[in-house]
């Protein structure tokens, strides 16, 4: 179990983390008809937007309050109001999610107060849901910003259920709060698992219809899909709330309290043991002691895949750099097959799951730490986002891309490493990366053997054929 260490140094070399507002914006994009709005300078938004565009290969409708020198000094309330008015005019959103940035947080604005005042005054904004999350860039990582945004959505849009006048809960409806690392394809896989037991999930947020990469019929300037706005208040009537990833603990607790329902946090859904736990919870919720044939078959296939892949993964020394929830999910699945994480680098100290990562130490660090740790630990494989390619190149190691951003490959939204099927694909992916490693071919010098004598080599030109 990992001890979190924070290197004492001033310099970050090749940063691992993406900042919190970006995570918040990504979460907002999983709400139907949404436009995320950064309260900050124009550049904050531009960088985050380009980052997401390159990862998802989609137009990202991210807007900005475009703080300037004067508004930064005098206060940004007017900028917020103007931004909302302009976005309404241009994109007709049904939801605007505001994320603060380091700039406005450093100034110390009371945005919730200002926002209350604006919304009370501007009756014309009445058709619009506006949510605000405090996500200063200087605190936490992508998954923290995402979690803060989801918490803010729950807080603003899910009403407190009155225990006395509470309607009968919809017993076959379940809330699912995925953490930032859960991809669109993974939400689909989780959806498939839940529905297999006759349950209906509400995902908050739901990137599987928003950023799954589909060609829409129209240009909207808003998110392309996501959690339906009317489904969010309905979450109070679900039978249970499941969180996928420890970073969603807070949002899940809040939602559970609003609806008076049980809450269960699944730190990961990658790996046989983790998926078994999830299936067990689904069986309990569905009131069945059985599982559909398709699920049984998927599990048996995962078992077989584990046996096939353990030859490559057993004893595999690897280094991983990712946000805490993702680092935990992937490393615990690999530990189940005997892999050894020689270096674990993570991006946020806020998530207690870090302590459960199967490694001696987890460094709150950067990709420079990944490279150094992999070199020192004689790793044979790296797991990180796309920027890990520099370390991979320097070390001559294969890189399995995981997390955000993956901007040098297509199909980041299709990566699925959860559930029995996703775990199977992940194990094959790791094993194949090992198999494709050019170091596999033995050379005499690997064993300290002298080269063969030149005399034995065939070097004479052949007689020209007739």
């Amino acid at each position: 179990m990992a001890r979190l260490t924070r290197p004492r140094r001033a310099l970050s070399t090749n940063p691992l983390k993406s900042s919190a507002p970006l995570g918040a914006a990504m979460a907002y994009l999983g709400i139907e008809g949404a436009v995320p709005l950064f309260h900050g300078a124009q550049g904050c938004t531009a960088f985050a937007m380009v980052h997401m565009v390159r990862h998802f290969k989609e137009a990202i409708p991210l807007q900005t309050t475009a703080m300037n020198e004067v508004s930064t000094i005098l206060g940004g309330a007017e900028q917020i109001e103007e931004a909302i008015a302009n976005i309404r005019k241009r994109a007709h959103p049904r939801f605007i999610g505001i994320a603060s940035t380091a700039l406005t947080e450093t100034r110390g604005e009371d945005v919730p107060g200002e926002l209350r005042e604006i919304l009370a005054r501007r009756r014309d904004f009445g058709d619009l849901k506006v949510v605000y999350a405090s996500t200063p860039d200087f605190e936490g990582a992508l998954e923290d910003g995402w979690a803060a945004a989801v918490t803010a959505i729950v807080d603003a849009l899910v009403p407190e259920a009155d225990p006395a006048a509470r309607p009968e809960p919809t017993q076959r409806q379940v809330n699912v709060l995925p953490s930032a690392n859960v991809t669109p394809a993974e939400i689909e896989e989780i959806d498939h698992l839940i529905r297999a037991f006759g349950l209906t999930p509400i995902f908050l947020p739901d990137l599987s219809t928003a950023l799954d990469g589909h060609l829409a019929e129209d240009w909207s300037g808003r998110s392309l899909g996501g959690t339906r706005l009317d489904a969010i208040p309905a979450m109070a009537r679900s039978a249970a709330t499941f969180a996928i990833g420890e970073s969603m603990q807070g949002a899940a607790r809040l939602l559970g309290a609003r609806g008076g329902m049980p809450v269960q946090v699944f730190p990961a859904l990658t790996g046989l043991r983790a998926v078994d736990g999830f299936v067990q919870a689904l069986m309990a919720l569905a009131g069945t002691a059985d599982a559909p044939e398709a699920i049984r078959r998927d599990r048996a296939r995962l078992q077989d895949a584990m046996l096939d892949a353990h030859f490559q993964i057993g004893g595999l020394r690897y280094a991983i750099a990712a946000d805490p929830d993702l680092a935990y999910a992937l490393s615990s699945a690999l530990a189940g097959l005997g892999a050894e994480a020689v270096a674990v680098i993570t991006s946020s100290g806020a998530n207690p799951i870090v302590e459960l990562i199967p490694a001696e130490e987890a460094v709150l660090g950067d990709l420079g730490d990944l490279e150094a740790g992999a070199r020192k630990g004689c790793a044979r494989l790296l797991i990180s986002h796309a920027h890990g390619r520099h370390a991979a190149q320097a070390l001559g190691l294969p890189l399995v891309r995981a997390g955000f951003p993956i901007n040098d490959r297509l199909g980041a939204q299709d990566i699925c490493r959860v559930g029995y099927r996703g775990t199977r694909a992940f194990l094959f992916e790791i094993a194949n990366a090992v198999l494709s490693h050019p170091h596999d071919a033995a050379r005499p010098e690997d064993f300290g053997a002298a080269p063969i004598e030149p005399e034995f080599e065939h070097d004479r030109p052949q007689t020209a054929p007739h």
Partner: protein
């Protein structure tokens, strides 16, 4: 079968150098040593396969399979023989005969053209032309084509007239050695020779096993002049007649070649193994003694003993940390050749219990050795059908199976650790460092958490008896002791 091939096969069976053969009465000897295969219950390769296994590791030669696609196409690039240089041996060359080629009798012409194309495009030191069932049956005279091609193109084209139906894989290995004796060995003179030149026959440098041994030889000043066929160059095969001593690596298949080389060029040979610590030491000792007998400096023996002492101490020290991790584990060995039980004593030294071993290709002397190491005969299996092996493993009578790839899935489906010890394996286990690697592999496999993971009951099984867990022993387990079962599915 052509008369010439028939005679070659007959000669191969009548091998005076072979202890098994000598032990047989004259009548049985005539029948040869290949057991007749049982239709519907046979597995393992053909004679062509055996010839390819023996010769294909010669790395700078173009290996041309004269056949319809299956023989070459379904078998190429499937073995782990490593090369320190040329990679031509990994290229799959075949004449890919079509129906029209066969019906119209165009095989020989196509073969001649194929040889020409190889010479033009790759200029190899030699081309080995493999006959196969179909081309032998339609009467293609590959010897004549090779002769004509050699004269025309100036590159030796060597006929390997070992069609698959001639017999077993083992016979194919023998005949491949015979082809080298007839056509290659003795055709090139080395520029220089030393008093410490040796041949190594019957090693294939699987994943670099030769290189685990070579540093030992380098340190003793022993030079591998001739090799059949670990990391071998064509010239090394052609120069084999100038070595001082031949080491025959755990293989009865090539003993005929070793004997003929002794008779023709006076090169004495010995059988040895580089699997296991004591066998490696024994092989080095014998090698040095024989070299000294043939004129090498006498201090070679002392240097050899010093090297052995150092290496054995190093290996034992490297193995010690693994003892607590592997102690008490029970291993079932299932493989051909005697390489498997040459590691038995080393495993026992680490506290591993060997619960059974196959003796399918063992000589009587080998069997006696197993009895000596393991106490009695009850742990020797002749053959074990996959179903019986599955039952044995499922009943947890062994914690780990060491075998060739064909029983890999028997072990895995029984949720039992498996170590590959045959020629398709991906890790080298030769010599002192190889033994440490093998034990490391056993540790890595048997202590992998995956076994506990895959044996855990599914969520829907939690309330019921766990079918994923291992069953107690049942009466279905096979009776121990030698059984002569023709259902031989794991071949060496």
């Amino acid at each position: 079968m052509s008369d010439a091939l028939k005679q070659t096969v007959q000669e191969a069976f009548n091998e005076p150098g072979c202890a098994t053969n000598r032990a047989k009465p004259a009548e049985a000897r005539k029948k040869g040593c290949a057991r007749p295969l049982t239709p519907g219950a046979a597995a393992g390769g053909c004679a062509f396969d055996g010839a390819m296994i023996t010769l294909q590791p010669i790395v700078d030669v173009a290996h041309l399979v004269h056949a319809p696609l299956a023989c070459g196409g379904n078998s190429w690039d499937n073995r782990g023989s490593a090369s320190s240089g040329p990679m031509l041996y990994k290229t799959g060359f075949t004449t890919d005969l079509t129906e029209l080629d066969i019906v119209m009798g165009k095989g020989e012409k196509k073969l001649y053209a194929a040889i020409r194309e190889i010479v033009q495009n790759h200029a190899p030191p030699a081309i080995f032309v493999y006959a196969t069932c179909v081309t032998a049956m339609i009467g293609d005279d590959i010897a004549a084509v090779c002769k004509a091609a050699t004269e025309a193109f100036g590159t030796p084209a060597i006929p390997v007239d070992v069609p698959g139906y001639a017999g077993s894989k083992n016979l194919g290995c023998k005949l491949a050695g015979e082809m080298m004796y007839r056509h290659v060995i003795g055709t090139v003179e080395p520029e220089r020779t030393t008093e410490c030149d040796i041949n190594i026959i019957g090693d294939y440098n699987l994943n670099g096993e030769l290189w685990q041994i070579k540093p030992l030889l380098d340190r003793l000043g022993i030079r591998i002049l001739g090799s059949l066929s670990a990391d071998a160059r064509y010239r090394q095969v052609a120069m084999m007649h100038r070595a001082r001593v031949t080491m025959l690596v755990c293989s009865h298949a090539l003993i005929g070649l070793a004997r003929k080389m002794e008779e023709t060029w006076g090169i004495p040979f010995f059988e040895g193994s580089f699997y296991g610590i004591s066998d490696t030491s024994q092989a080095l000792r014998t090698m040095c003694r024989m070299l000294v007998e043939r004129g090498a400096p006498a201090d070679l023996i002392d240097r050899c003993e010093a090297l052995i002492a150092e290496e054995e101490a190093g290996a034992r020290a490297a193995l010690a940390p693994y003892r607590p991790r592997v102690e008490g584990r029970r291993v079932l060995l299932y493989t051909g050749g005697h390489k498997s039980w040459s590691v038995v004593s080393a495993l026992q030294e680490l506290g591993i219990e060997v619960v059974g071993t196959s003796v399918r290709k063992a000589t009587e002397a080998d069997k006696a050795r197993v009895v000596q190491i393991m106490g009695d005969e009850t742990h020797m299996y002749e053959n074990m059908a996959p179903k019986d092996m599955y039952a044995t493993l499922k009943a947890a009578k062994a914690d780990i199976l060491m075998s060739g790839a064909r029983s890999q899935f028997v072990a895995l489906k029984a949720r039992t650790p498996w170590i590959d010890v045959n020629q398709e394996k991906h890790e080298p286990y030769a010599g002192y460092m190889g033994m440490v690697d093998l034990v490391r592999a056993i540790d890595r496999s048997v202590n992998n958490p995956v076994w506990e993971e895959v044996r855990r009951p599914a969520p829907w099984e939690a309330a019921r008896p766990a079918t994923g867990l291992r069953l107690a022993a049942t009466s279905q387990d096979p009776a121990p002791g030698p059984v002569n079962d023709p259902k031989d599915f794991e071949d060496c």
